[in-house]
Subunit: 187 residues, 2 copies
DNA sequence: TTTATTTCTAAACAATCGTTTAGTTATTTG
DNA sequence: CAAATAACTAAACGATTGTTTAGAAATAAA
């Protein structure tokens, strides 16, 4: 029929994702995306519609990158220990070569928290609720805990996870470890 | 000599501060500042130099707003209990009428974390270190604690404070209370 | 009241933002 | 090979960004 694409969409999105991860949505321009993705603006628009589309795809790419870790967490059956391991695994992602500091989803949650954006808001709350429900599920494995305690602890852990995301941007590995250990001291 | 200013700088900065608090630095435009501050762009520039200058003054204004709370905390002498009270007081600020959700300093810390900005970076790290040192000071009031434990707990509390700032934006008062109580369970 | 000085209004500034488009190049298919 | 089609390049789009400026309005001091 005609000419072939000279790039692979999933590959260029991966590069865009790293840029959004590092700079956030607003502080990433089309010019920067063009350069980092290695393709022309035309190609970006024809593939992803607009900047917002690139961002949504980047979020998907980020989720895919962390999916393995999430699946391991989901399938685990050691209760609180699994949650702690999930915290450690989350922190480990930032240490891996080629990755940025912090958590793209937490960053996005922060950046868009004051903004009315239906899609992002739904994406974020559904993600956060998903995490919370997983926490609840694991906490329930300890049958000695009552419902109220479980909900309290789940809320606490969601917010602690938020703190962890902040920590992975500036704190040392030792400090992060200390933080995780202290978080789970009385859970 | 000549004409008088028709506005009070501290008053218009207060309004600018609320805008930055709500939207962050990048998502606040000069147009929005003009409208919210109630004065012309010329006046803004003649009073504060540029947008960045308005922001720096806004940060000062925010610190002034929270100074009373900080002073109370500094002068307290009940150790960990004072830190807990500081957490509760921090959360209370967001409930006060006319104030925004979350913490402007934490928001700024988040927004500028990936950006090289000498002034803001110094402002933020010095603030964070100040908080941490206060935590250490209060923790040391319990003489049974060794140095290592104190540093660990101080680090933990700084990150927990970060989580609290996130909480004040979306969580209910009950959830925030639970979070604080759980944070101090084993400190 | 006049003069000097400052603040005000409002328009324009260059630069950058996200986005679109016209025209060229490449590749598949008949 | 020729025709059709899709992807490329690169320039321009209008809108908005932060910033500046020219001129009118106001007020203090002479």
């Amino acid at each position: 029929m005609a000419r072939k694409k000279q790039y692979i969409e999933s590959e260029v999105i991966d590069k865009a994702m790293l840029l959004f991860w590092r700079n956030g949505y607003e502080n990433t321009s089309m010019q920067m995306l063009e350069k980092e993705m290695g393709i022309n603006k035309f190609s970006i628009y024809s593939s992803f519609g607009n900047k917002y589309g690139v961002f949504l795809e980047s979020l998907k790419s980020y989720k895919a990158k962390t999916k393995t870790m999430f699946d391991t967490f989901k399938e685990a059956s050691n209760g609180v220990e699994d949650i702690k391991q999930f915290f450690y695994d989350s922190a480990k992602i930032c240490e891996q070569e080629g990755n940025e500091k912090g958590c793209l989803l937490t960053n996005t949650y922060n950046e868009f928290s004051g903004i009315e954006d239906a899609l992002i808001n739904e994406e974020m709350t559904s993600f956060m609720e998903g995490v919370k429900n997983l926490f609840i599920e694991k906490l329930k494995m300890d049958t000695s805990k009552d419902e109220e305690t479980i909900l309290k602890q789940a809320n606490f852990l969601v917010l602690a996870k938020h703190g962890l995301a902040a920590a992975t941007r500036v704190n040392t590995q030792k400090e992060i470890e200390d933080y995780i250990e202290m978080t789970f001291m009385n859970i």
